[in-house]
Symmetry: D2
Subunit: 285 residues, 4 copies
C-alpha cells in the first residue's frame, strides 16, 4: 500500500484558496484522491479543507514539501494547517478505570487493523484489566490514585506518556484530569460521555434517564476541555429504549452505544477527519 498524505486547513475564507493549494500540490507531483471543503459563510466566513493525496511521484521530501507549503501557501492565506501521513501512524494511549467495554472495543479494532495507530500503552487507576490488555500485546500501566492524590498520579502518567503521545483516549476513565495535565494535549484527548450531551451531564446519567422516562438514550464522544462534559462534540448516537428497561438494561444498551460512538470518533481523529473550531468540530467523513 503506497502511503497517502492528509492535509487539513483552517483559515479565513476568500477566493483562490483551493486553487492555490491544489496547484501547489500538483506542481510537486501529488495526485489528490479525496477533497472535502466547507465554508461557514460565502462572505467573511471560515474556510475548512481536508484533502488526501497520493505521493509516489512527489519530487521533494516531506520536510521540504512542508517548508515550501508553509512559505508559498500557508502564510499567504493565514492558514492553520497540518500534514500527516498514513505510514506515520499516531501514537495513542488509552486510559481506563474498571468498565472494560470501550477499551476492549478499541483494542479489538486495533487488532483487526481498523484503527490506524500505535497503541503505546493502556493506563488505569486499577489493576483489574491487566491480563485482558496484555493479551493484545499492549503494555499496561496501573497508576493508582493513592495518598499523593491526583497530582502524584498525573506526574507519573505524564512521565509514562513522554513527549511523543499524539492522542489520549479516555475509555471510561473515571477520574478527573487537571487542566495542567491536559494543557499539552489540546484537542488530542477524546472522552466518551454516557449520555446524549447536553442532556444528563454529571453523574449517573443512566439513572437520570430512567427517572426522566426518556425513550432514547445516547452517548457522546468529545474532546476534553477544562470544563467537564463540555468540549467539542465529535460524534453522538442514540438507541431506542422502553418502559421495560431497568437502569441495568439502560446501562447495557448504553455500553454498546458508547463503544461504537467512541470507536468512530477515535477512528476519525486518527484519519485526520476532525477539525476543531471554537467549541465545535467539522468532521469530514
Amino acid at each position: 500500500m503506497v502511503a497517502t498524505a492528509r492535509l487539513c486547513i483552517t483559515c479565513p475564507d476568500r477566493p483562490g484558496i483551493v486553487s492555490a493549494v491544489t496547484t501547489f500540490l500538483y506542481t510537486h507531483g501529488a495526485n489528490i484522491i479525496d477533497l472535502d471543503q466547507h465554508s461557514t459563510d460565502p462572505e467573511g466566513g471560515t474556510f475548512f479543507l481536508r484533502l488526501e493525496f497520493y505521493t509516489p511521484y512527489m519530487d521533494v521530501s516531506r520536510s521540504a514539501l512542508e517548508a515550501a507549503f508553509g512559505e508559498v501557501v500557508g502564510g499567504r492565506f493565514s492558514m492553520d494547517w497540518r500534514l500527516s501521513y498514513s505510514d506515520e501512524p499516531k501514537r495513542a494511549a488509552l486510559f481506563v478505570s474498571r468498565h472494560d467495554h470501550c477499551l476492549m472495543e478499541l483494542l479489538w479494532r486495533f487488532a483487526r487493523k481498523e484503527l490506524p495507530c500505535d497503541i503505546a500503552m493502556v493506563v488505569s487507576n486499577h489493576e483489574d484489566l491487566r491480563a485482558s490488555v496484555e493479551g493484545f500485546g499492549v503494555p499496561f500501566h496501573a497508576v493508582p490514585v493513592g495518598d499523593g492524590g491526583m497530582a502524584e498520579a498525573e506526574a507519573k502518567m505524564a512521565e509514562l506518556l513522554g513527549d511523543n503521545t499524539d492522542l489520549i483516549v479516555l475509555a471510561r476513565y473515571m477520574r478527573i484530569l487537571s487542566g495542567d495535565f491536559l494543557r499539552p494535549y489540546e484537542h488530542r484527548v477524546i472522552n466518551i460521555h454516557h449520555s446524549f450531551l447536553p442532556a444528563f451531564v454529571g453523574a449517573d446519567p443512566y439513572r437520570q434517564a430512567h427517572e426522566k422516562g426518556v425513550k432514547l438514550i445516547g452517548a457522546t464522544a468529545h474532546y476534553v476541555t477544562a470544563e467537564l462534559d463540555a468540549g467539542p462534540i465529535i460524534e453522538q448516537d442514540t438507541a431506542r429504549v422502553t418502559h421495560r428497561f431497568s437502569v441495568a438494561d439502560l446501562k447495557a444498551t448504553g455500553s454498546d452505544l458508547e463503544r461504537n460512538v467512541l470507536a468512530r470518533a477515535v477512528k476519525w481523529h486518527l484519519e485526520d477527519r476532525v477539525i476543531v473550531f471554537g467549541n465545535k468540530t467539522v468532521v469530514f467523513r
Copy 2:
C-alpha cells in the same frame, strides 16, 4: 370490521390479576386478541396491562360489562382502569400557530384513515391556515390573543371545546396555556417539543443545537403539565446532522422529525397504548 375493545389497567401488583381479568372477560364471551403486561418489580411493584378483545359474542351491553368489571375485578385489585372501543373514536382538537408541518401531517394521516379519531376542530391564534384546514373538511376557528389576553382567548377556546373533547394536540401552538385551562385535560394534551428533551429546553432549541455543535437533533412528544417542557414523554426520535447544517437546515430536518414523532404519539394515544404513571409513560406497542 367488527369492533374491538381495549382495556387499560394500572394497579398495585400482586398474584392473580391477569387470571382474574381474563377469566372475567372469557366468561362474558370476549376473545382476547392482544395482551401486553408490565410490572415495575416482581415484588411490591406496579402492574400495567393493556388488552384488546374482540366483542361479537359478548353476552352483555357495554355499560353492563363495565359496571360488572368494576365490581368484580376493578375494586378487588384497587385498579385504575378504562375501557374504550374501536367504534367510538375519540374527539380531538388540534391547536396550531403558524408552522403548519405538524398540523398538515396529522390532517393528512387523518384523511388517510391512519388516525382513529374525529377531528372536531382546528384552533389557531392566527388566520393563516384556514384554507388548508378547511380543504380537509375540518372546521377551523381563529382565536387570536387580543387585548383581553390569554385569559379571554382561553375562555373562548374552552367554549369551542365543549365538554366532550377527549384529546388536544398542540401541533406547534406557540402560546402557553394556563394551568386552569389545562386542568380538565390531564394526560390528554399532547405537545411536540422541537428538541431531544431534556436537552435544549426553552426557546429556539435549533439555535442552541447549532451553537453547541451537536451531531444529532431530536424531537419529543409529551403530555403537557403545568411545568413547561417537562411532562411525561411519549415518544422521541433523533436525526443525524453535520457541520454543514445551518440553523435553517436544522429546522427543516427537525420539522420532519417533529411531524413523525408527533404523529406516532397521537396514534398511540388514540389506540390507548399509553398509560401515564408519575412523570413517565408505559407505551404498549
Copy 3:
C-alpha cells in the same frame, strides 16, 4: 439570495484536475463554497467532482464561462461536465396513479420551498387526485390509458411535457413506460420502488415481505432504465417491523418510507448532487 452555480464533472482520473478546475474558476472571479470529490481508484480510476461557487463577482456571462470552461478545461481532461444555477430551477413533471402519499409529500415540500424546482404539471392515468393537486396551484392532466393503449397515452404525455422538462418523477405511477418514451430522459426519470431493492422486485412487494417474515422493510428511489426495477439507486432506507404487522400495516409503514426516500432523492437530483456512472450513482451530500 445571490445565485450559486454548481459544476459536476466526471472524467478519467489523473493528476492536476482539481488544480485546473479551481484555478480556472478563481481567475474568473468565482468563490468556491463547497467542493466534494471522489476517485474510484488512485491509479487509472474515474474522477468525480461537484463544486458550488458563488458568482457575484464573475467577470464573464454564463454562456461565455461555459464556452471557456469547455475549451480550456473540459476538453483537456475529456470531461463529461455540466453547469447549473440556483436561480434557474429545473422544470419537473410528477406522474402518479392513485396512491397519493408520495405525490402529496412532494407537493407539500415544494409548497414549503424545500424542493428547488418548478413543478410544471402532474400527470395521472386517473382523475382521482385532480382537486388535491390543483389546491397547490399545480396543473393536473389526466391521461387515461384507453383503447389506444399505452402508445397513445405516451404520445399525449410527450406532448404535454414538451421539450423543456428536466425531470420526471414517478410518484407511484403504476403503468410501465416504454423505452421509446423514456429515451430522451436518460438519468432524468426517478422512480420510487416499494422495497429494499434488489429484494422483492416485481409485484406486491409488501405481500412478499409479509410471507418471508422479514424484520425490516425498505424503499428504494432509483433512476428508471429500460430494465424494470433495476436502474441506478439514488437512495434507500429501511424501517423496523414485527410479527404484529399485517400486510396493511407493512404498506402503511412502507408509505412513510417511500415518501421520505423519494423526497430525498428528488431534492438531491434537483441540487445536482447525483452523478450516474454505469449502473451506480455518486451522491455528494
Copy 4:
C-alpha cells in the same frame, strides 16, 4: 436473584386460552411478571404466548407443574408449549471458521454475563482462533474437513456436541452442514448471513452489494434449514453506506452489523423470546 420461569405456547386460537393458562399458574402460586400475546387473526388464527413468572411461592415441583400443565391446559387447547427456567441456562456450541468478529462478540458478551447460557465449546474447521477462545476459558475443538470430507467431520462434531446441546450458533462457519447433521437441531441452529436477506443470497454478498451500488447494507440472523440462506428470520439490521465504500469498507461495516445482529438473535433465543411458525418467527421483545 430468584429464578423465573418462561412459558411459550403456540396453539389454534379460541376464546379462553389466556384465562385457562393464567388461572392454572395462579392457583399454583406463580406471579406473572411479563406476558406477551399475539394472534394471527381474530377468528381461526394461531395463538402465540410468552409469559414469564416468578416462582418463589410455587406449591409444586417443576416436573409436577409441567405434568399438570400438560394435562390440565396443554392438552385441552392442543398446545405446542415449552417451559424453561432462568437458573437452567441453555448449553450452547459456537461454530466458526476464520472470521472472528461474530465469535469474539459472543464470547465477550458471554464474559460480561449478557448471554444467559453455558458455552460448552467452540468448534472450528481451523486452528487459528484457539488462543483467543481459550483466553475466555471456553474449550476449543478444531475439526478440520480433511480427506474424509464433511461426513467425517460432522460425525466428529456430533460426538463433541453429545446429546445435551441446546443451541448451535454458526458465527461465520463457512462450511455447509448436511440435513442429517442438522435434523436433531430443528430451530436450534442460528446462522448469521452477511446481507439483508432475501437480497444477495449466495456467495460474496458484499461484492454483489458493491456492484449493485446499494446505499444500505444489511445482515440477517436466521434459523438454519436444509434450504441454504432461507430459514426463519430472527433479526435483521442495515447500515448506511456511500459511493466512497470499497468492498473492504463494506465488509468492515458489515462485520459490525453482523456481530450486533447475531448477538441480539442469540440473546433472544436464549431468553425464549422466539417462536417459530412455518417459515417465520414471532419475537416477543
